[in-house]
Each structure stands twice: as C-alpha cells, then as structure tokens.
C-alpha cells in the first residue's frame, strides 16, 4: 500500500534527527556520539566502526545479517506485518536496515513456505524480530564506548562549564 510514503517518512525522520543533532550538539565528542548512535540504528555495526572499533562493527553486522536473512528464509522472504504479530513487527524497527526491508517486504502478509514444515514459520518471524531488537543493545553499547572514549580523551562532559571557569 503506502510503501513510498513509509520510506519517505523514514528518510525525513532521519534527516530531521541529523539536523537536530548538528544544531544541538556543537561539542565534538557529543556530536560524534550522537552520530555514532544514529549510524548504529541505520546500519548494525556502523556505530562501532565510527568509534574506531572496526572488527567489532563487522562482527555485529555479520551476525545480525545472518540472523535476519535466516529468519527471512524461514518465513518465505516476507517480513512481519502488523497483522501477523504486532510485537514482532515493532521489533523490526530496532534497526533502520530491518525497518526499511520490513516496510518493503512486509506487505503483503507473510505466509508459511510450502517446502518447509509449517511450525518453522513462527521461529522465522522470531529471528527477524530478534535481529532488530539486538541492534538496540548494540546501539546502547555504542553510547558506552563513546562515553569511555570521551573520558579517555580527557574532555569534560560539560565543556561549557569548563570554559566558564577558565
């Protein structure tokens, strides 16, 4: 139905977040942290790559892609529509990539594959959902790494206060 509309809305939201991010976070570390968080949502592992943890980023990307593709294979290359399972459907929005594919492939309604046992359909939906939800955990990990890097660099969490003291 409204695939172009959903995609356009997603892109507008992303652009808005990026603009707000640039306007609000003028400090280098804060902006980098916010960008890493946003990137981590758009593409699993990209946030870690931005923070300099390339190997970990690639690992997260690979493991989530394998999980997602395996789930898609089990569920007949259809992602979860709201009618299939509202909770699993929302889980897809944990990452931009799965949300985008969800918007693209999720309509029409998913149906079990003929060549696989019917009982494998539900685990397929679960794999698709878990790939999205795990990305939320990875996004929080990016924030953690960014805070640690900020502390290591010796930059104060409130640079404006420091400037005022000086």
């Amino acid at each position: 139905m409204k695939r172009p509309l959903i995609l356009a809305a997603g892109l507008v939201v992303l652009a808005l977040i990026a603009v707000i991010d640039v306007l609000v976070y003028r400090s280098g570390w804060r902006r980098r942290r916010a960008m890493a968080f946003l990137l981590a949502w758009v593409c699993p592992g990209a946030g870690h790559a931005l923070m300099g943890k390339w190997r970990k980023g690639l690992f997260f990307f690979a493991i989530l892609v394998v999980t997602y593709v395996f789930g898609l294979w089990l569920s007949g290359w259809r992602t979860i529509s709201f009618d299939d399972n509202p909770f699993y459907h929302v889980g897809q929005y944990g990452s931009g990539l799965t949300a985008l594919l969800g918007a693209w492939l999720g309509d029409p309604k998913a149906f079990p594959r003929d060549d696989l046992p019917k009982s494998w359909f539900d685990p397929g939906l679960l794999y698709v959902c878990v790939a999205g939800l795990l990305n939320v955990v990875i996004m929080l990990s990016v924030l953690d790494i960014a805070s640690a890097s900020e502390k290591q660099a010796g930059e104060s969490p409130a640079p404006q206060a420091q400037e005022g003291k000086a």
């Binding site: 493991i63 999980t67 494998w120 794999y127 955990v137």
Partner: protein, 58 residues
C-alpha cells in the same frame, strides 16, 4: 517439535552479542556465550521438568 532446534542458534546469537558488548577478546566472548547458553538451557530444562512432574503427580 523440530522448531525447538531453532532455540539453540538464536540464543547463542543473543549471548554472543551481549558478551561482545562487554568484552573485546573473541575467545573469551565465545567461551562466556557458550557458558551462558548452557546455564540458561539448564535452568529451562530443570524448570520444564519440574512443571511436567507437578502436572503429572500433583
């Protein structure tokens, strides 16, 4: 019952991601993920056996 087989890989993936968020050493990540998977599976098996026994005999 075959769908129960899918429990192992997805749980291992979840454990791997959770451990990878905490640690950097790949060997330690794999080891801790396997240990946690074993623990969780053990707890679930014991719990289900208990529920089965309670339903059957009580």
């Amino acid at each position: 019952m075959t769908y129960l087989l899918f429990y192992v890989p997805i749980t291992f993936v979840v454990m791997l991601v959770l451990e990878a968020c905490k640690r950097d050493d790949p060997r330690q990540i794999a080891r801790r993920a396997a240990v946690n998977l074993g623990m969780l599976t053990g707890v679930l098996v014991v719990g289900s056996v208990l529920v089965f026994l309670i339903n059957k005999y009580l």
